[in-house]
Symmetry: C2
C-alpha cells in the first residue's frame, strides 16, 4: 500500500475550492479577451538550450529538467557526466512568449496582443505560501521595431476591470517610470546603473529598518552620497499621488533636470491621461516613485497593484515596459509591455485572509429519486433541465429522501427537485430551495425557466 500524497510545493484543491479558483481564472480570461488579447498556449516542456539562453545562476538553479526513461537510462550508463538534459519545464511565461513570437514572427500581426494562463515550475525551497507549480496569467503587447507608449495605458484599465470583478476589496494600481527614476538618480549624482540598484535596495528597507538607518547607510562608506542628495532621494521615493490632478502636479514638480526625467515625465503624463480616458476611476491609480521592479529588464512604465486593506500581501499584479523581448532568438527588435498575475499564490493568500470562500457547487439542481420505477422520468426531467441550461445531477440509487436532501446540502447544491407520484400525475415538480429554506411547486415545463430566474437573481444579489 502506497500513501497517496502530492509532492511538496503544489496546490491541490477540493472540488468546491477548485470551483472558486476556476471562477477567478474565468473572470481573468473574460477581461483579457474583452480588451482584445488573443489566447496562446505553449508546451510546458521547452528545449533547455532555448529556455536557458540568458538566465544566470539564480534562475538556472531553480529549473526543473525533464528526461524520459530512455534518456535517463542512457545518461546513467554514461556515468552521470552531468550534461544538461535536453528538456526543461518553463519557469515563467515570458521566455516562452519570446520564443513564440520569434518563431512565428511571420505569421503574427503586430502589435501582437496575447494572453496566456498556464502553470509554470520553479524548484523553490519548499515553504509556506511558496509554490513549485503555479499559475501565471499574463498579457503582453509586443510591437515590431517600435511600440507607442499609449499601449502602456491599457494595462491599468485591464487591471481595474479584472480586480473590480474579482471583488476582493479596494485596490490601487501604482505607476512609475524607469526613465524618470534613472534621470532622477542621475540628477542626484547617482549615475551608475549598478549604484542606482544598490541605492534602491537600501531604500527598499525603509519600512523595515526606518529612515535613520537608510540615511546613515547612504551617506556612509560604500555609498558616500551627500546628505542633501539622500534627503531628496528619500523624499522622492515617498511620493504617492492622491488624485489625477495631484499626479500631474507631482510630475510638474520634478522639473526637467535632464532628458531622462523629461522623457519619463512625458510618458507618465500620457499614460495617466489615457488611463483616465479609458474610464479608470482616479481613486484606483496613483503614482508611486518607489516602485522599481526588475531593474535590468524594465525600461519605461512599471506597474504594481496592491490591496488597500491587505498591504502585507504585496503586489497582486505587476509588470512594465521592456525594450526588446527576444534578442536571443531574432534580430528583429520587439519592444513590449505586459503584466502578470500569479494566481496560485494570490488565491492561497486570499483564502488565508478570508477573502475567498469555498464556492457553492457548480451543480445547480439535484433531481431526487423516490422510487426506482420513476428513474426514467427523473432522467427525462434532468435532460430537460440540462437543455434549459442548468447544471443538473440525478440521484441514481434510491435512498430515503432525507438522505438525498442532506447530500445536496453538504455538496453545496442549492435546488432539489422532487418528482413523486403526485407530481408525475399532475405534470409538476416540487422544488426545495435549500438556501432560502423554502419550497414551491411549478408546472414541469416551466421549471428550467423558474430556476434560471432564481439563479440570475442570486447572481445580482451577490454582486450588490
Amino acid at each position: 500500500m502506497i500513501k497517496p500524497r502530492t509532492p511538496p510545493g503544489v496546490m491541490e484543491l477540493l472540488p468546491r475550492d477548485q470551483i472558486a479558483f476556476q471562477r477567478m481564472l474565468d473572470t481573468i480570461r473574460r477581461h483579457f479577451e474583452r480588451f482584445g488579447f488573443l489566447p496562446v498556449e505553449t508546451p510546458v516542456m521547452e528545449l533547455s538550450e532555448v529556455l536557458l539562453t540568458k538566465s544566470g545562476g539564480e534562475t538556472e538553479r531553480q529549473v526543473y529538467f525533464v528526461q524520459s526513461t530512455g534518456a535517463l537510462a542512457k545518461s546513467g550508463s554514461e556515468g552521470g557526466e552531468g550534461g544538461m538534459p535536453e528538456l526543461a519545464l518553463r519557469f515563467d511565461l515570458t521566455v516562452p512568449l519570446a520564443r513564440y513570437v520569434a518563431e512565428h514572427e511571420h505569421d503574427l500581426a503586430f502589435p501582437f496582443r496575447r494572453y496566456q494562463m498556464q502553470r509554470v515550475y520553479r524548484g523553490e525551497r519548499a515553504q509556506r505560501g511558496r509554490f513549485r507549480e503555479f499559475y501565471q496569467c499574463d498579457i503582453d503587447v509586443v510591437g515590431k521595431d517600435s511600440l507607442s507608449v499609449r499601449h502602456d495605458a491599457e494595462f491599468p484599465a485591464v487591471i481595474f476591470a479584472v480586480f473590480s470583478e474579482l471583488d476582493i476589496g479596494k485596490f490601487t494600481i501604482q505607476l512609475n517610470n524607469r526613465k524618470l527614476m534613472r534621470g532622477f538618480f542621475e540628477a542626484q549624482g547617482v549615475g551608475d546603473a549598478e549604484l542606482q540598484a544598490r541605492v534602491l535596495r537600501e531604500v527598499d528597507k525603509l519600512d523595515k529598518r526606518g529612515a535613520d538607518y537608510v540615511r546613515e547607510t547612504l551617506v556612509g562608506e560604500g555609498f558616500g552620497l551627500s546628505a542633501k542628495a539622500v534627503e531628496r532621494i528619500l523624499a522622492f521615493v515617498e511620493v504617492r499621488s492622491t488624485s489625477h490632478a495631484d499626479a500631474l502636479a507631482q510630475l510638474d514638480a520634478l522639473g526637467t533636470p535632464n532628458d531622462a526625467v523629461r522623457a519619463g515625465v512625458e510618458e507618465l503624463r500620457e499614460v495617466l491621461e489615457l488611463v483616465r480616458a479609458l474610464g479608470v476611476p482616479e481613486s484606483h491609480y496613483a503614482l508611486n516613485f518607489s516602485i522599481a521592479r526588475g531593474l535590468d529588464y524594465y525600461t519605461g512604465t512599471v506597474y504594481e497593484t496592491t490591496l488597500d486593506d491587505y498591504p502585507q500581501i504585496g503586489s497582486v499584479c505587476s509588470g512594465g515596459r521592456y525594450d526588446d523581448l527576444a534578442s536571443h532568438y531574432t534580430k528583429s527588435k520587439l519592444p513590449g509591455v505586459g503584466i502578470s498575475i500569479g494566481l496560485t499564490r494570490l488565491f492561497w493568500q486570499l483564502r488565508d485572509a478570508g477573502l475567498v470562500d469555498t464556492a457553492a457547487s457548480s451543480v445547480q439542481v439535484l433531481v431526487t429519486q423516490m422510487d426506482a420505477a420513476h428513474l426514467p422520468q427523473c432522467l427525462a426531467l434532468a435532460a430537460e433541465l440540462r437543455q434549459g441550461g442548468l447544471n443538473t445531477e440525478v440521484v441514481m440509487e434510491a435512498s430515503k429522501l432525507g438522505k438525498q436532501f442532506k447530500y445536496a446540502d453538504r455538496a453545496g447544491i442549492r435546488f432539489v427537485a422532487v418528482l413523486g407520484e403526485d407530481e408525475i400525475a399532475q405534470g409538476t415538480v416540487t422544488v426545495k430551495d435549500l438556501r432560502r429554506e423554502d419550497q414551491f411547486t411549478v408546472p414541469r415545463d416551466e421549471l428550467a425557466k423558474a430556476l434560471r430566474v432564481e439563479l440570475a437573481q442570486a447572481e445580482v444579489e451577490a454582486r450588490a
Copy 2:
C-alpha cells in the same frame, strides 16, 4: 543567436487556431458541468513512487522524470547510479484521480463525480499525429463500496451532448460489456482470460487480414479452437445493432448460456433503457460486440465513439466500467466508470480532415483611429463597448484608415468602428461589417446593443 523552436511531439497553435481549440475545450467543459461533474485539477508532477505503482514496462518506459538543477547535480556527482528520480510527469488522468480520491476520501461525497481537463505526458517515439504532450478531458463517477450500473447510462448522454455541439458530423456511440464478452467466450470453450485476450487480438485483425486468415489462425496450432466455435466468435464480433429495438433483440438472441452472459445482458439492457430515457436518439448509439478495450482494466460496460464519415480516425471518446480505482492507495473499494477524450490528437485529426477551421478572432470590434487628437474619444468608446460585453481592440497608433481595415480583415475581426470628426459631432459611430461588406451608422449609445444582436444572429446562423 538560438533558433527558436519547440521540442518534437508537442502541438503549438497560432492564436486563431488556439481560439478554435479553446472553443472545443469550453464546449466540453460546459457539458461536463451540465451533467453535474465537479472540476478537479492535479499537479503535473507526481511523486514517482506514487505514480508508478502498478505500471509495468510499457508505461514506465514512456514516463518523463523531473529533476531540479540541485537534484540533478547530486545524482550526477554520485556517478549516475540510475536510481529513479523522485518526481515524474503524469501520463494519464486516471492514476492522479485514483491518488486524489484515496488521499481526499474523507472530504469527498460519494458517488464522486469529477471532470478533469489537463495535459498529460508520454515519451512516445515522435511521429506524425503522435504527441508527447496532449490534453485529456476525462469524466468519472466513483462509488464507495458499490456503484449502480445505472451510472453507466449517463456517459452516452454526455458524449451525445458534447459531440452534437462540437458539430463535426454524425457519430455513433458504441457499447459493449466485458462480462458479456467473457461469458460468451467461456461458452465457446475459451475460458482462460489470457487465451481470450489472444483470441481478441487475432479477431482485431479482421479488417486488415480478412476472415479467412483469422479463421485459419484460430483453428490452427496455438489456439486449437473448433471450426464451429470460430464461426460463432466471428459472428459475435460482427454484431452491430441498427436501432434500440434491434439492440434489445440482439441481447435476447444471445440466450443465457452462463451467469456472466446473463449479467452482461442485464447490464446492457438497463443501460440502453436509461440512455433512451436520457433523450439520446437511437440513431446515435449501438451495440458493437467487437469492442474490448483495456482487457485487464475494464470489467463491465465499455464505450467507443466513432465519426460515421471518418472511421479511420478511430474512437474519439472511449472508456468503461472498472471494479476498483485505487487499490494501491486505500483499502476502500472504489468502483467507477468513466470516459476520456484525447483532445489534442482529435483536434489535430479534425484539422487534417478539414472538419475544424481556423476561428474568427476572439476580438469582435476594432476601434480605428483617424486622428491622434481623438484617441481619448476612441478609448472611451472602447470602454463602452467592453462594458457592453464586446471584445474590443483599439488602434493605438494612427495610420491610414485603409491599413487599419486591412489589419482587421487579416486578423479575422468582423466589425470595425470609425469615430471621425462627423461622428463625434453627431454622437454616432460608423461601423463597417467586414463579413457582409456592408456599413451602417448608429447612435453611439446604441452601438453595443446593435453589435450584440448581429453577433447573436451570426451564432444562430452558424449553428443552423
